[in-house]
């Protein structure tokens, strides 16, 4: 069966509709069938619909995504309460240990992301992984920093990623590879992203899953939950009316 490739982290300049459309078309050309664009939390519903229409024209499935950067764990909980039903994908940029721990154990968080150049603030350790393994969060790796960084900073990032990927695999936490691209030139084909992961020792099968099965599963799960027929995990309404 043909794989559905997904890039869950496109970051175009939303004030430039031309660039947004170009990046969506490029994603389609590169072979992606599902993309998510990072949107501000107050992004109007009509504009989300416009993005969906552009994606439909380009024959790409669109998922709405919000990136949370809370300062405290309480802030994270409040944001999740407000936004969980508005967006299909919620990612948390963990900039403090408390936020990282809360994000890892909260089942409303889909993706855990960490600052790429502040190495002391990459809190993806065994404790974090253990919490995440009991919830639904996946570990997201953006490839943009790997492309733009050079020298010792890239070496340190690769070293951190190697350690974190090993931890994620040991605790069976799904890994999602995204481009994190802010322009078309930073977008890569899914297989190219998978090849880049060999730099931090992710095996080929897991790498391909990280650009296909894992991100698609996150989106599918959330769409089911956001659907009107969802009751609880494993329970959904299949029929309504007097004959039930």
């Amino acid at each position: 069966m043909k794989k559905t490739y997904a890039d869950l982290h496109l970051r175009p300049n939303l004030k430039d509709p031309e660039q947004v459309a170009r990046m969506i078309r490029k994603a389609s050309e590169l072979g992606y069938r599902l993309i998510a664009i990072s949107l501000p939390s107050n992004f109007p519903e009509e504009k989300i619909q416009q993005l969906r229409n552009i994606c439909n024209e380009a024959k790409v499935d669109f998922a709405s995504r919000v990136d949370l950067r809370p300062q405290t764990s309480k802030g994270l909980i409040n944001s999740l309460r407000k936004l969980r039903r508005r967006f299909e994908i919620i990612s948390v940029m963990c900039e403090s240990k408390r936020v990282a721990r809360q994000a890892a154990k909260d089942r409303r968080v889909d993706l855990l992301n960490f600052p790429s150049t502040s190495f002391r603030r990459r809190f993806f350790d065994k404790a974090e992984a253990e919490l995440a393994s009991k919830s639904l969060a996946s570990f997201e790796i953006d490839m943009k920093p790997l492309l733009i960084l050079e020298g010792p900073t890239r070496i340190r990032l690769l070293s951190s990623l190697r350690r974190e990927v090993a931890i994620a695999q040991a605790f069976h936490i799904p890994i999602a590879i995204s481009s994190g691209a802010t322009s078309e030139l930073l977008m890569r084909k899914p297989r190219e992203l998978a090849a880049l992961t060999s730099l931090f020792d992710l095996d080929k099968t897991s790498a391909v899953e990280a650009v296909s099965r894992n991100p698609v599963a996150i989106t599918k799960r959330n769409r089911e939950k956001l659907g009107s027929n969802f009751v609880a995990p494993g329970i959904r309404i299949i029929r309504k009316g007097k004959d039930c």
Partner: protein, 81 residues
């Protein structure tokens, strides 16, 4: 090809580059398409190096792999399709 060599050297060093068997077979400047040969054991290595290229002669650029094949004849056939 300089950009490709630089990317390979940056990521894998001279030792890694020497194990890749990297050679430029053909470059069509009009279409912007090149055929590069490498050992089958280092295909992924070269693919990663190509994907890591963001600039060519200080100008923003990206290189994408169109197709991979075991022989040049099959490669040309695939590219015609």
């Amino acid at each position: 090809m300089g950009a490709v060599w630089n990317a390979v050297l940056k990521l894998y060093g001279e030792y890694g580059a020497s194990r890749s068997g990297l050679t430029l077979i053909n470059y069509d400047a009009e279409k912007g398409v090149a055929i590069i040969r490498t050992f089958h054991t280092t295909v992924e290595t070269i693919q990663a190096a190509l994907a890591s290229i963001t600039k060519i002669r200080d100008k923003p650029a990206a290189i994408h792999v169109l197709t991979i094949s075991g022989t040049i004849r099959t490669l040309r056939k695939k590219m015609k399709q």
